[in-house]
Subunit: 302 residues, 2 copies
Amino acid sequence: MLDICLLGTGGMMPLPQRWLTSLMARYNGTSILIDCGEGTQIAMKKKGWSPKPIDIICFTHYHADHIGGLPGMLLTMGNAERREPLLLIGPKGLAKVVSALCVIAPGLPFEIKCMELTEPVQSIPFDGFHIEAYKVQHNVLCYGYSIVVERTGKFDVSKAEKLNIPRNYWNRLQKGEIIETEEGAFTPDMVLGEPRKGLKVAYCTDTRPTESIVQAAAGADLFICEGMYGEPDKLQKAKEYKHMTFYEAAELARRAEVKELWLTHYSPSLIRPEDYIHGAQKIFPNVIAAKDGRSKDLLFED
Amino acid sequence: MLDICLLGTGGMMPLPQRWLTSLMARYNGTSILIDCGEGTQIAMKKKGWSPKPIDIICFTHYHADHIGGLPGMLLTMGNAERREPLLLIGPKGLAKVVSALCVIAPGLPFEIKCMELTEPVQSIPFDGFHIEAYKVQHNVLCYGYSIVVERTGKFDVSKAEKLNIPRNYWNRLQKGEIIETEEGAFTPDMVLGEPRKGLKVAYCTDTRPTESIVQAAAGADLFICEGMYGEPDKLQKAKEYKHMTFYEAAELARRAEVKELWLTHYSPSLIRPEDYIHGAQKIFPNVIAAKDGRSKDLLFED
């Protein structure tokens, strides 16, 4: 199960009734945060989640509304006596930015590891899932992220028997182990059927629509995409500031054939995003104007 | 009139129901902010005040819970098309810290001036008031601040007549102007009585009790002081982490003979500060456990 919580839905600046856009995800004991603007740790606490066990924080880019909450979050983790290292992932310049921000968060009792993205599309493997980072198009270097949970095929008894795999290896092979023996190596694919559909959540914000987004979000169970402007006459503004309208986001969702689209990262001037959702629904029916704290538990299909 | 608003009362980390400690003050068209932790701009907006017209921000020290909200606040000012320069005041290292934080707030459309404090007690004059910075005792270099509004004496007709001050100069002299003429200079004191009592608000946080605080807060109309711990058995912890108990703050207020004490900067573990106020009231009766957003308009005595 992949737990998802969109902690906030604001862009540019935090508002009394709208936290900045940030995504929290949990899978198989690993906690991932994407973006950490001012107030994200408060939004997290409001949902009853704690910053302490976060394993990975991904940053789309280094504007304050996406990273300004990092020093406070690190201090809160430190105050909670976290000792495990924390992995930060982001575009080039990450180590420099983090080191600058840490002047106001001295003496942390845990290690921070920085992984700077070097490729336009980069896959980072973890235990049972991978994070796919993909370059998007903002006024500074900016990436989107997908969290992709792989799923192996079902155990195939007839295949295992046909290949004469010793029965005492079956369980270990099913769990993904490669077993070296004197007769050669046994690999999991020898006992498993075709890989089954896993889970995918795609997240992108602070970007114009790009082909990289369509590719990265292709077939996603959930696509969380910026919709800075709902008013149809703001397309020019979206182009100028390198953001998107609701309708552009919906068009990306349609082309990527995702299951569901949540809009986020609203302009502070957009008081009631839901007023503009009908236009987006005409392009992609399964879209909502997400609100702070919207959660979903994504389950495997069968 | 000196408008005061204690925007938040939390220490260490922002909580869903408690913003970080920060003081907003307005006098005669000048807006002053003391400390700017994560979320301060949201607390300000909740009170209906805007960050845009802030003229001066004073920092007690450079831990994230006192300065982490600066980059976001600067961007919000910039987005509101502020063009006037902003004065920042703080302990040694200010320019370096601000420059580090500004990596996530690029392209601001206004100038930032940094004034680093160099003396243990330093008075900074403005139009009709001054800010007094005084060194306190934390685990890093830390200052408290008082905002002091001066008040001249009443216009004294008999004095002006006795000294033969020409009547056409009276109004200008009363307003503080020095008038140079061929017969010599006329100064405001020639038409004014004894200076009258002005207004003083003293603010200190993240410190052990010090003599400098007693002196700086002496006779203050309002003294806002940290009370990190209310539980009487936490004195040792207060000493270790260089903070104060409610009772130590009350003792400072008693010695400084202030009119009123507001406690603030509560430990996140202190859920209901008001539960411990009675002990502090035994030492200094006019003390309250302040809550977020507490405001007061201080008026001249007559």
